[in-house]
């Protein structure tokens, strides 16, 4: 009996009140944690008015940082969605030695400070890193260039696509695939008509989560990007520069743009998920 009593004659029960309290708690917590800070950001961004918005976004460095961030975010999301699908499939359908350990390893990037991930990449591909000398001989620039940023993003967002596809694979039964196999369906056929419809919502949400996380990443990138405007400067590092040079309004404007982009992606994903069935998240 978790509904609000419409009739004033019926006495309110304990369930009613705790229902109220719980709702109040949920809404209050959301307000405190998300809505109020976001409101603060928006008011900060609107300090300069529309003109402020345009001056910030007119800077070529800002526009470039924005484009580079979106491009890198999309590439990261594409690569990791494909990789995540394969890894999740392997983890669910096959018995691998040390499967438990592997499963635990997947979440590890979430548990280390992203700056450490940047450090690890420096340790591998930096000039004095393991492969540094070889890379220099091959004239391959990884660190302080795009490949380095992409690598950092791939590592940081690694768990998302795996963890969104995995439960759907576990819930779906492998018998459908086996049945299809006995009826003579090829691998590709099985993937396209059985597997994909089953995990599509997971793929979508994995993609958007990865993208959103990628465009917001700072800690790992700041160590491996060259931070050269119009070359290797991404939005998060650019925003940090604005904050450091006391252009708080500019930083808020850039943040609001990134936020809007992420929000649109998340809303679209919800609509797709509803349209093509599967689980609504």
């Amino acid at each position: 009996m978790w509904t609000v009593s419409k009739n004033a004659d019926t006495p309110t029960t304990i369930a009613d009140i705790s229902g109220f309290a719980l709702r109040g708690g949920v809404i209050g917590y959301l307000l405190l944690m998300v809505v109020i800070p976001l409101g603060g950001l928006l008011s900060q961004a609107s300090l300069g008015g529309l003109a402020g918005f345009f001056t910030t976004l007119q800077s070529p460095a800002a526009v470039f940082a924005f484009k580079l961030t979106i491009a890198l975010g999309l590439v990261t999301a594409l690569i990791n969605s494909a990789a995540g699908l394969v890894i999740a499939y392997g983890l669910v359908r096959y018995d691998l030695p040390g499967k438990r350990l592997l499963n635990a390893l997947v979440d590890l990037p979430m548990a280390i400070p992203t700056a450490v991930i940047g450090m690890m990449l420096l340790g591998l591909y930096g000039l004095q890193g393991l492969f540094g000398r070889w890379l220099t001989e091959q004239k391959l620039a990884i660190i302080f260039d795009y490949p380095g940023i992409l690598l950092a993003l791939l590592v940081v967002t690694f768990p998302f696509s795996i963890r969104t596809v995995q439960p759907l694979l576990e819930a779906g039964c492998s018998q459908m695939e086996e049945a299809a196999k006995t009826l003579g369906a090829g691998r590709w056929h099985i993937f396209w008509y059985i597997l994909l419809p089953m995990i599509r919502p997971g793929l979508f949400s994995g993609f958007t989560l990865t993208f959103s996380r990628a465009i917001a990443e700072f800690g790992a990138i700041v160590l491996v990007s060259g931070n050269i405007p119009l070359k290797t400067q991404v939005a998060s590092v650019y925003i940090y520069g604005l904050v450091e040079s006391s252009d708080i309004t500019g930083a808020a404007v850039m943040s609001v743009c990134l936020l809007t982009l992420s929000l649109m992606m998340l809303l679209l994903q919800h609509r797709w998920a509803q349209k093509w069935g599967g689980i609504r998240r």
């Binding site: 304990i14 009140i17 705790s18 109220f20 309290a21 719980l22 109040g24 708690g25 209050g28 917590y29 405190l32 001056t55 800077s59 070529p60 460095a61 420096l122 930096g126 000039l127 004095q128 540094g132 302080f144 700041v222 060259g226 931070n227 050269i228 405007p229 119009l230 940090y240 520069g241 604005l242 450091e244 040079s245 006391s246």
Partner: protein
């Protein structure tokens, strides 16, 4: 009913905790015989303060007054430090990299006295912008022009995050202007922009601080690092790792200190803080700074350390470029020279 109450209590307790953690707790009043000073400085002179200056002052203060003085210290980038103080870090003393950062604190109303009304206009250390190259100077770097040659990789931090980077870029731009003046008798800003553009295109990484650029250089990236002379001398203290190159024309760096009135009034420790700020210009403290690679401001110590610090021939100061306000606008503003160079509007 009971459950709802508990839940309500829990939620309100949570809210209360959150609000409390947001408030700053005020200091407990000082016990007799002890006092405390909160020092907020930029990162580079950390060793000088911690190893020499603070212990020496504590000893001196104890002898003079019988009071034990303890220190709370914070060392972060100069700009970040200024912002932290404005946003409520209760520092009694701000020892920063540039005047502009002290001005930020003054404009926020926390410094109410005229902080430049001290000897040497409130400056406690000096330095110059110099070049660090690998031992033996394999590329034969001598002058700023050499940094613009094809194939030379240069490092300095981003002026958006680092006060040090501003000094570096001021040095390059000013060197162009100064050289033109020496050669033709007229200051030529275009020559400054030209030199800056030629070097900027060889900059491979722009770290967030001078320290980070130095670290990147130590990792083996880059042929030349443009930084404070004292950063290089500090690295060379144990053993000579790098050659320090002084271009003929470079900028004189001056680092200020100021007492933060509002916080001192809150803590009621003015006597000790005043004494500490004065102590920073004593010969003892100046020698300590010099030991860690900073140029002293006090004439006696300047004379003692003459051999350690070569005098660049065409040294100029920030006033030569019109003072900080002009430099902020003309070099780093939205239409500034450096801004336009990195945005590709001014090509080399």
């Amino acid at each position: 009913m009971k459950r709802a109450k508990t839940l309500f209590r829990l939620i309100s307790a949570g809210m209360l905790l959150l609000t409390l953690s947001g408030c700053s707790h005020s200091e407990a009043p000082n016990a007799e015989g002890t006092t405390q000073i909160m020092l907020a400085a930029y990162t580079v002179p950390k060793e000088a303060y911690q190893k020499e200056i603070i212990p020496a002052f504590q000893k001196q203060w104890k002898e003079k007054t019988g009071q034990t003085v303890t220190f709370k210290e914070s060392y972060v980038g100069s700009g970040a430090q200024a912002r932290a103080i404005v946003n409520g870090l209760e520092a009694d003393v701000a020892a920063l990299s540039l005047e502009g950062d002290i001005e930020t604190i003054r404009k926020a109303g926390l410094i109410t006295h005229n902080w430049k009304d001290r000897p040497y206009a409130g400056m406690i250390t000096r330095s110059v912008v110099a070049l660090g190259v690998k031992k033996g100077n394999p590329l034969g770097i001598r002058e700023w022009q050499d940094l613009g040659k094809p194939g030379v990789t240069v490092l300095y931090p981003s002026p958006r995050t680092s006060g040090g980077a501003m000094w570096d870029i001021n040095a390059i731009y000013g060197a162009g202007v100064k050289t033109a003046e020496i050669e033709t008798g007229k200051k030529n800003p275009d020559k400054g922009a030209e030199l800056l553009a030629s070097i900027q295109k060889n900059v491979k990484v722009m770290d967030n601080s001078g320290r980070e650029s130095m670290t990147t250089f130590e990792k083996g990236l880059g042929d030349v690092v443009v930084t404070y002379e004292n950063e290089l001398l500090l690295r060379n203290m144990e053993q000579p790792l790098y050659d320090v190159i002084y271009p003929k024309a470079t900028v004189l760096i001056e680092n200020p200190v100021a007492l933060v009135d509002k916080n001192v009034e809150k803590h009621g420790n003015r006597a000790a803080v005043e004494a500490f700020v004065t102590f920073l210009q004593s010969q003892e403290a100046q020698r300590a700074f010099a030991k860690y690679g900073f140029r002293p401001v006090v004439p006696e110590v300047v004379a003692e350390t003459k051999d350690k610090f070569p005098q660049p021939e065409w040294l100029f100061d920030i006033q030569y470029l019109g003072g900080w306000d002009t430099v902020f606008e003309q070099l780093y503003g939205p239409k500034g020279v450096w801004t336009e160079i990195v945005e590709g509007k001014k090509g080399a």
